[in-house]
């Protein structure tokens, strides 16, 4: 599409380019603490993008995305530690594990017509089962956790994801950018339009020749595989995995909150949401510490109220609102 210099599409491209440049330059400008927060924003944006493909595009609400995160993390980490197979290969195994798990969920859901909230409950059940299963799987450390060795001589083996903060920062940036790219390409494709049609009205989509079950499986597979890649990153970045953390329901909710606050079904919603919520959470911890308010649950309480405020002010998400204000709205939105 040709766009005049002042058109929303062109303005959006410029805004995205500036934002990208700022992120590329960030490690040379900000300190380590701020950099670690931006890294978390980027990972949140990436995982939100993966969840958004399933819910925002295809209309399937997963409340158990931690399942794919955990399977990806454990899959690649176990291959590396137990068999010496690096994550460059392990990431494919991780994706395959997540896709296989999502296939079982999808098969149960679609075969037995478990729809709407009942599908969501199914996703929780699987994530919780995995948490309990891994808690008791001694070979992978059980509840005590699984640890990746951190050896000085491995440092610089980037193909094994052994590197410093700069390395992991740029890797997160690459993931977030890649996630956006994949999401944008899929949304513009025939498959993406089949997803949107299914989200809007599955019966009408079917009557127009859309193979609804196949398209839903594709959304599940893409979303699960992308989330598993995020899990591999988390394992090699943190060097430890605990079933109680990685498979936790709270983790699934964290993945969802970004796109929900940013704008479900939009391309930039997951990014905006993550860059809003992660710093908000961090700032809140600092503020409460400064105030001496370290009562348990205080952060969750304030965070909850802030979320309610944001959602009440921008019910369809912050990004659509922001895009209107900055005149960045594209044709489609």
């Amino acid at each position: 599409m040709s766009a005049s210099p002042a058109s929303p599409g062109a303005r959006q491209t410029v805004a995205l380019a500036l934002f990208g440049l700022a992120l590329v330059a960030a490690p040379f400008v900000v300190d380590r603490y701020i950099l670690s927060i931006i890294l978390l924003c980027l990972i949140g944006a990436y995982l939100g993008q993966a969840w958004n493909i399933l819910m925002g595009f295809c209309g399937l609400l997963s409340l158990g995305h931690a399942l794919y995160l955990g399977l990806g993390a454990y899959g690649a980490a176990a291959l590396y530690v137990k068999f010496g197979i690096g994550p460059w290969l392990g990431v494919f195994v991780a994706m395959a594990l997540a896709v296989a798990a999502s296939f079982v969920i999808g098969w149960l859901g679609f075969r037995f017509r478990i729809e709407g909230v009942y599908f969501s409950l199914l996703t929780i059940a699987f994530a919780e089962s995995a948490r309990i299963g891994f808690d008791n799987w001694a070979w992978l450390g059980g509840a005590a956790g699984f640890f990746l060795p951190v050896r000085a001589e491995d440092f610089g083996q980037y193909w094994n994801l052994r590197g410093g903060p700069f390395f992991f920062y740029y890797l997160a940036l690459a993931l977030a950018a890649g996630g956006l790219f994949v999401s944008a390409r899929l949304r513009a494709s025939k498959l993406g339009h089949a997803w949107l049609a299914i989200r809007e009205d599955a019966q009408a989509a079917r009557a127009l020749g859309v193979n609804v079950t196949r398209a839903r499986f594709m959304a599940l597979f893409v979303s699960a595989a992308m989330t598993a890649v995020g899990g591999v990153y988390l394992a090699f970045w943190g060097n430890n995995i605990f079933p109680g953390q990685i498979f936790d329901m709270a983790h699934s909710i964290d993945i969802m909150l970004g796109p929900i606050v940013g704008g479900v079904g939009t391309l930039f919603g997951p990014i905006v949401g993550s860059f809003l919520l992660v710093p908000l959470g961090e700032a809140l911890i600092e503020a409460l510490r400064a105030l001496g308010l370290n009562a348990p649950g205080a952060k969750a309480l304030v965070y909850g109220f802030l979320l309610m405020g944001i959602i009440a002010a921008a019910p369809s998400g912050v990004w659509p609102w922001l895009a209107r204000r900055l005149r960045l709205q594209d044709r489609e939105q």
């Binding site: 494709s189 025939k190 339009h193 049609a197 009205d201 019966q203 009408a204 009557a207 127009l208 020749g209």
Partner: protein
């Protein structure tokens, strides 16, 4: 059309029961290629159920449905659409958050290699149905007559050989009805598209249909050219009997 010509659509002894209620009972009819065929009958006669059987939304309890010589009953709605039968819904089902253009492009996707060609095909159909100027609007913002038109446009976009139109004239003003009639006749002639329409608007039935099939309480009571059928005593009774009850 010769006497031995093969029908495009053949419904044979179709029966559908819902918990003891027989919604469609032993209904048979055939539609020839490029024919315009109407199914009429009072409310609750089983017309929409019949459409759902043909389109694959419901499974038959008895009988068979053949399209272009192949048996299609038991297939899923998307497979049936792929073979060349499109349908509209009586209670319109737009994709509300998507643009008018994307609504139609999703229909066109079925026979288009990519979205660009699907959108080009959609634009062509939108022009025919006077929706081109509204292509950028969200479907949710359309008025009911426009939604009816969108429903038809979307179904046409799948490039069917037979289209099932479920009360697409309802709620249209007479001039809008005439416009839709003209558009349908054009497409029928230009593309040899067979049309099966459920319709209460007799103005449209008389103008378009070559043959009319009348259902009452799920059963066939008459079939023939519209002028004959509307004079049939049983048909008049089925309608007037119901009207008198109101």
């Amino acid at each position: 059309m010769s006497a031995v010509a093969q029908p495009l659509l053949a419904v044979r002894n179709a029966t559908k029961r819902f918990r003891g209620l027989t919604a469609v009972s032993d209904v048979s009819f055939a539609v020839m290629p490029a024919e315009i065929f109407a199914v009429i009958g009072p409310n609750g006669a089983g017309k929409t159920t019949l459409f759902n059987l043909i389109a694959g939304a419901f499974a038959l309890d008895e009988g068979e449905i053949h399209f272009d010589g192949r048996r299609i009953d038991g297939q899923s709605p998307d497979k049936i659409c792929e073979q060349g039968i499109a349908r509209t819904f009586q209670i319109v089902k737009p994709f509300p958050e998507l643009s008018v253009r994307d609504n139609v492009a999703i229909g066109a996707m079925l026979r288009a290699p990519d979205m660009d060609s699907a959108r080009a095909a959609a634009d062509e159909i939108l022009r025919k149905l006077d929706l081109f100027d509204k292509r950028g609007q969200k479907a949710a913002s359309l008025t009911l007559p426009d939604r009816k038109r969108l429903e038809v446009a979307r179904a046409l976009a799948t490039r069917p050989r037979l289209i099932l139109l479920d009360e697409v004239m309802a709620g249209l003003r007479p001039t809008e009805t005439d416009h839709m009639v003209a558009a349908l006749r054009d497409i029928n002639r230009a593309e040899q598209l067979a049309i099966v329409m459920i319709e209460h608007v007799m103005r449209a039935v008389m103008a378009l249909a070559e043959r009319v099939h009348v259902l009452h309480h799920g059963a066939s009571i008459a079939e023939g050219p519209p002028q004959e059928v509307t004079r049939d005593a049983r048909v008049i009774e089925s309608y007037l009997g119901l009207k008198a009850a109101h």
